[in-house]
Amino acid sequence: MNITELREYLCTQYPDLCPLFSIEFGDGVLTVPSDRLGEAMCSLKDLGFDFLGMLTAVDYGDEFELVYRLRAREMHLGLFLKTRVPREAPHIRSVTALWPSANWHEREVFDLFGIVFDGHPDLRRILLPDDWVGHPLRKDYEDPNIIRRPDYL
């Protein structure tokens, strides 16, 4: 199965997901609104996407984009799933119930971006010390301990 066949298959099985699916640079990308994430994830898991390889986030200023990389091992297919959450209330549903590998990835995104995953079993910092203030990968992060590189270097 290749990516166009996946699109046809997805459209026959789950017609409501079909308009959200696009092919960018040869990779399938499913862009869903954040309130439909759980539904889309359940559908994809049923479709055979049994492996969550990666989970990360991007800071776009007034909102964060979450990127999930899913793989269907039997179909030899990969798929990106993207969703956006507002910066003022960065809440998203946890997918640890579907893919246990999301556990530490979601902790990392929480640690570095401050996005709260509702329903996560153990949401606390994973890479930084527990008493750390702020979330360093946000664009507006300020830390007085950072030494800025001078212009001449």
Partner: protein, 198 residues
């Protein structure tokens, strides 16, 4: 058991007593020779490898460079080791673990900061929120080895420099010699013959 510990702790007292005794210096010199020989040629290392410098550290341990011939055997247990080689970037989260391993090493112990990251933070010095800028912020470093990563030859040079330092130590603190650094500061007196002018 406790009596044995008390004997070990009393070596300094014995050394001080020997220094005051006439002819005691001969015994002290022989004692130092044995001690420094034993310590200097069995610098078992605690490989605290956290980044790419650890690859060079591993290469140094195997047959091409063969640090066994210097008596430097990597041991996985801090309680067996004499010198901690910090090879790699130390993050703020990692620093307490490194300090704890250092505290588990028995005295006498030495520390080698291997690579630019362990020396000063290296390429992570600027614009980084999570990297400790040099392990000398929380460990007493004896030898600094620069390089990104350093060659195993540099590490070998560091081990030999450390051995010089170890062999300069004495059971009596007043007999311990100072070892000057590899690179003299501009403020230091020029090396070679004293009073020699150019």
């Amino acid at each position: 058991m406790e009596e044995g510990c008390a004997e070990v702790a009393g070596i300094d007292d014995v050394a001080r007593a020997l220094e005051r005794t006439s002819g005691g210096g001969v015994i002290l010199t022989s004692l130092d020779a044995i001690q420094d020989w034993a310590r200097g040629y069995s610098l078992w290392m605690m490989p605290m490898g956290t980044a790419c410098c650890a690859i060079e550290l591993i290469a140094a341990s195997f047959s091409r460079f063969d640090f066994d011939r210097h008596g430097s055997i990597p041991r996985p247990d801090p309680r067996h080791t004499d010198v901690m080689i910090v090879a790699g970037t130390i993050c703020t989260r990692m620093a307490p673990a490194v300090k704890r391993l250092w505290d588990q090493m028995p005295d006498p112990k030495w520390c080698i900061a291997m690579g630019n990251c362990a020396v000063s933070g290296g390429i992570f010095y600027y614009d980084t929120y999570s990297v400790v800028r040099g392990v000398d912020q929380f460990l007493p470093v004896d030898v600094y080895i620069t390089g990104c990563p350093p060659r195993p030859e540099s590490l070998q040079d560091g081990i030999l420099r450390l051995r010089e330092k170890v062999r300069a130590e004495s059971a009596s603190p007043s007999r311990t010699r100072e070892i000057e650094g590899v690179l003299p500061l501009p403020s230091d007196a020029p090396r070679g013959e004293a009073g020699e002018s150019e």
